[in-house]
Symmetry: D2
Subunit: 267 residues, 4 copies
């Protein structure tokens, strides 16, 4: 009997790209809140979600991960990854939520965990300024005036650049927030004639537990989204940049809420 939460499934089950949940995460986040074109935001929403506002956010996160029994962080190439997440505002059943049109990570393990949650992950290269506990011209202070940059490149093209200048502490997280994300789980068919009738097509709500937050720093931000020959990210380019943020968070994932099976035509 083969075992494993994902492929490859093997006799002992220790070879799966992703082990069974729960999955524990801790990360440093740099975020930029901004306004995009309302029609563009609307055009990216999946069936089942309604337009809420033109407010968007991009998060750049340097994560470390461990499975329940894993201590993967002691072999850190198995544990660490960097991520760029775009969120747009949406509503489900008249309640505000966030929807992720684009997300890039730099490790296959994270990509596969993401697919199980409905994150539309692709591989991309994210870089984020680090803070150190020593004063140095080589790093920013975590405090007023401290400047943090982040970049995303996909297949050797720079796609996003951001700079955040911290000004003050706040108790408010950026909005939309990945705590309230609604995703689409999707797995295609390959049988001839059924390429557009997916095996899995579900609207799901993420469910994290044991969420912890550091103090939050807020400030000014710049954000640049570059044109790309086929990725449609530039449709969500900023018309107005609202604010930048830096904070850390920790959370655990081992559950999900099914909102709606999108294979069933709505009555």
């Amino acid at each position: 009997m083969l075992k494993g939460y994902t492929l490859p499934r093997t006799p002992k089950g220790t070879s799966s790209l992703t082990p069974h949940p729960p999955w524990h995460y801790v990360g440093n986040c740099l975020a930029v809140e901004y306004e995009a074109d309302a029609e563009a935001v609307r055009s990216f929403l999946p069936e089942g979600l309604q337009f809420h506002s033109s407010r968007c956010a991009v998060y750049f996160v340097e994560w470390q991960y461990a499975s329940e029994s894993g201590k993967e962080y002691l072999d850190p190439i198995r544990s660490q990854y960097r991520e760029t997440i775009f969120l747009i505002s949406a509503a489900y059943d008249s309640t505000a939520c966030a929807y992720c049109p684009f997300i890039w990570v730099d490790q296959d393990v994270s990509l596969m965990r993401g697919l199980a949650q409905g994150w539309p992950k692709q591989i991309g290269s994210t870089w984020i300024t680090r803070a150190y506990d020593l004063p140095s011209k080589a790093g920013p202070v975590v405090g007023p005036g401290g400047q943090f940059g982040a970049t995303l490149a996909v297949k050797d093209r720079r796609l996003v650049e951001a700079v955040v200048t911290l000004r003050e502490s706040t108790t408010q997280l950026p909005n939309p927030s990945f705590a309230r994300a609604v995703n689409v789980r999707y797995f295609p068919e390959l049988i001839g004639g059924r390429h557009d009738r997916p095996a899995v097509h579900e609207l799901v709500q993420l469910k994290s537990r044991d969420v912890q937050l550091s103090p939050i720093w807020k400030g000014d931000a710049e954000l640049c989204i570059f044109e790309h020959p086929h990725l449609e990210l530039s449709g969500l380019r900023p018309l107005k940049v609202c604010a930048g943020y830096r904070f850390s968070c920790a959370l655990t994932v081992d559950d999900l809420i099914l909102l709606r099976d999108l294979r069933t035509p709505k009555p």
Copy 2:
């Protein structure tokens, strides 16, 4: 209405990690045929396949890919990838076939196309000796005495090393062959309490078309599979190495045959 064969699904549908089939491939293959422990081979077989023999093969392939309208090979980071495929012998309904316990590629696009076909792809680093059309101490001849090496590393650990010395041309492909592969498509559930009741769990048979083969070279081979702390590949280590091969192949994929839904308990 969002479009796209896989996530991310977007207004124009040009952002999906994998475009709609057909997918066209051409590649140079180095392969090693070998015998593993029969009980080990048996232990890796999924429900629905029977043990056939202890014959295994590993293929190292340098691929180039294009979608139907894509010419992705003109922006080659979108098109080229390297792959290591392990195949073990199996039988379905008393007919010999091949089953893939492990496969590694180095591009996300290939990983996603693979998941749709049931290939249990992970990201790994494959390197394969190249032949050039000029005599040089820096490259082997494609002919008697020419030596080709290949290596696989996964997350900064070397896992496989092979060397093939060509001796003669042959009309016989290595066996088992990926032309007759039976795969398992698998997509997990994340809802609490249902982590072992996958959303998709299917035994499928690959269906390629327009397959073309170059002349095939055969010769001696060495193959070394190293221990790994959690990947179970070394269970399939060679007890006897049979032969090495080098050839090129081209093929197109846009279909699949469903053999059995493995979510339904067998009567």
Copy 3:
């Protein structure tokens, strides 16, 4: 006694980043000949070289390498690398030659061999369309109408894109050619107050032997050089694209000609 052609020098001398010459190379080249702004070309020439013409060329090469006794190509991560080379026209002592203002490779071993020869190598990501010996929608023919692309990215920014469409065979290599390159060997001082008085500053002429060339294909080309915040490559952008080329070459390097010690002020 420590041994080795370069650092690190060790008891057995087998740890040096670069082993002793001779170094053998074989590679597939895609090239674009073009005209840049004459004043820009002139401004990139080092002391000792004179302006010759505004003709430039960029070469994208997929190399395989071996040392005299090495067979490094059997562990191909030690042997294979991809390179983008820009050459501008120049004259030394009234004889036409080529000078390299920019070159990028993707392996440290190649970078170090390059520094010894005066190539101003940096790490960059080059991708080049491959040809296969089978007809396929996934690859071009090596013949009339066959299209080959190449790209260069440096630190997650796309810097160069080229497409060559083959039209006819020719006996003429692109010009300027790396066979006649004159380089500058340069090694800085770090002692305070001497940062601009290099330890090594030499005008040298490359000396290859056992050069072999495949048949040469010529055709049309497109070339795009993108802006960069601090790399000055866009100064050499094409005003007119002349032709594209595809060919293979093999060569051996174990010598160099010193033209002039540039630390000595010219009388």
Copy 4:
């Protein structure tokens, strides 16, 4: 007139792989102190240094860097890099110092700065556990019981693994320390017949300024150095592991002390 501290030297001088000093650094270090075989340590010492003891140390460092005017950390792919440094004990003129037989970094900019200082840098892949300011199963505490791992791989082979378990704070840095490093600057000749008469061969002492240190944590350690087909690192494998450390440091480099020109035979 071309400008730049290293190749490539260009009209504006902004294209050099390494800008002019000073270079500012800040980093998080994980270190393991250990004893190697005394004869092995002696065999790695360059001319001009004497044997002092069999004490060695390996440092794994996650650095961020900026030039004097650069703020490179806002485009962090230009600024961040990871490094594995081996130091062995030595004496110069009867004063204890440290000598570096092997060092690996993951960025070309750092490699080139290193060569100017005599660090024998090669490209390698270093991973180091990170600490976060939030309690999480995904990360260790910086305090008693906190466990940190580090790994080094070179060209797809794992070479070093270490785990440090913090026990107590200390005021003592590991020994040998890179603050007192003596390096060998070396730049080869390529002219035929002169491959063993280097253009630069100097014994130099590093000179950092503005050094700052965080509180230092000390504890138990495990260290494993694997065999490699040609890198001689395993000669310096641990016979006894002494202690592990974790601390941060910041420093500035813009000077060097020439101890001796090793091209001149000692009288």
